[in-house]
Assembly symmetry: C2
Homo-oligomer: 185 residues x 2
């Protein structure tokens, strides 16, 4: 089974490929021009993009959207994490979090899969709760990984290295996706 | 001449209606569900939305997209100003600008107009340069108006009241639009 993973993010592709390979699921990176809808619900974002990608490729495809949702910033940067990261980085988020006592946050991942046998995309969604660190730590992973400490750990995602892929939001959503794939093989 | 202005933003509608009424151009507010594409170029955003709105309404339509682009934040919040305002407000921007010596910024407005006689939307774009204030000032207008001081003034857009509508990015884009409308009446 070879699936098209539509993403322009190399870090994300590497992470997903690594996880899926353990289950003998092959994935190839497909770069397709998609309209990223400016909506706050990442489930709806991924669904819209899976439909668009399937219409263009006419092969089984999946997309993954993720976001960091910070409680004391009303869920910012959320579905717009990639844009916000590009513009203000981890430093910008740390600046916004200065003097905030509530540092609760969660990372969410939404995978939408579409194929010929489906009438509409199937969505797999998961979250990991944690806290925003007081400073950047670690260098693995990508995006806001250096400032997110998952609950039950004292390291950031970027300090956890490969261990991140055992516990991350993306891993949890992928687990649901893998379960579906193996059941419907 | 009655034009459909597609927007869900009451403050924006009021401002545009006020300006256009001086030129005997009537405008009504149309609320249409549009996909707001997550792209950074507000010209492209407005163009996409004008096409979508015209396809749904089949009447002459225009949309207006605006954004605040801050130099020292790499153009943040830009095309995502509405989302960023909703989540972190003026306070969030002021926090990000703390200790930044370069406070240059500009407001941009892009109007896209589509009608039966056009093959694709016509876009009218304008900018107003200025600076980010050190604190919120004034209460008229909406969005980031209380923290933007246009060049040549010492008041923020929110302190300028109706005078804002004589000099704003939106006014300048509307002037181009009005010129086009009167020429093609």
């Amino acid at each position: 089974m070879i699936l098209n993973f539509v993403t322009g993010n190399e870090g994300k592709f590497k992470e997903v490929k690594q996880i899926l390979s353990k289950f003998q699921i092959n994935v190839k990176q497909a770069k397709v021009e998609l309209i990223e809808p400016q909506i706050e619900d990442i489930k709806e974002v991924s669904k819209s993009k899976a439909i668009q990608a399937f219409e263009k490729l006419r092969e089984p495809v999946f997309v993954e959207d993720a976001g960091l949702f910070i409680d004391s910033l009303n869920g910012f940067p959320g579905a717009f994490s990639a844009f916000v990261y590009k513009k203000i980085g981890c430093e910008g988020i740390l600046q916004l979090m200065k003097n905030k006592s509530n540092r609760d946050a969660f990372f969410a991942s939404s995978i939408a899969f579409m194929s010929f046998s489906l009438r509409e995309p199937v969505v797999f969604y998961a979250e990991v709760k944690g806290k925003i660190a007081n400073e950047k730590r670690g260098s693995s992973g990508f995006g806001f990984d250096p400032i997110f400490i998952p609950n039950g750990y004292d390291k950031t995602f970027a300090e956890l290295g490969e261990e991140k892929n055992e516990i991350s939001h993306r891993r949890k959503a992928l687990d649901l996706f893998i379960e579906f794939l193996l059941k419907n093989r």
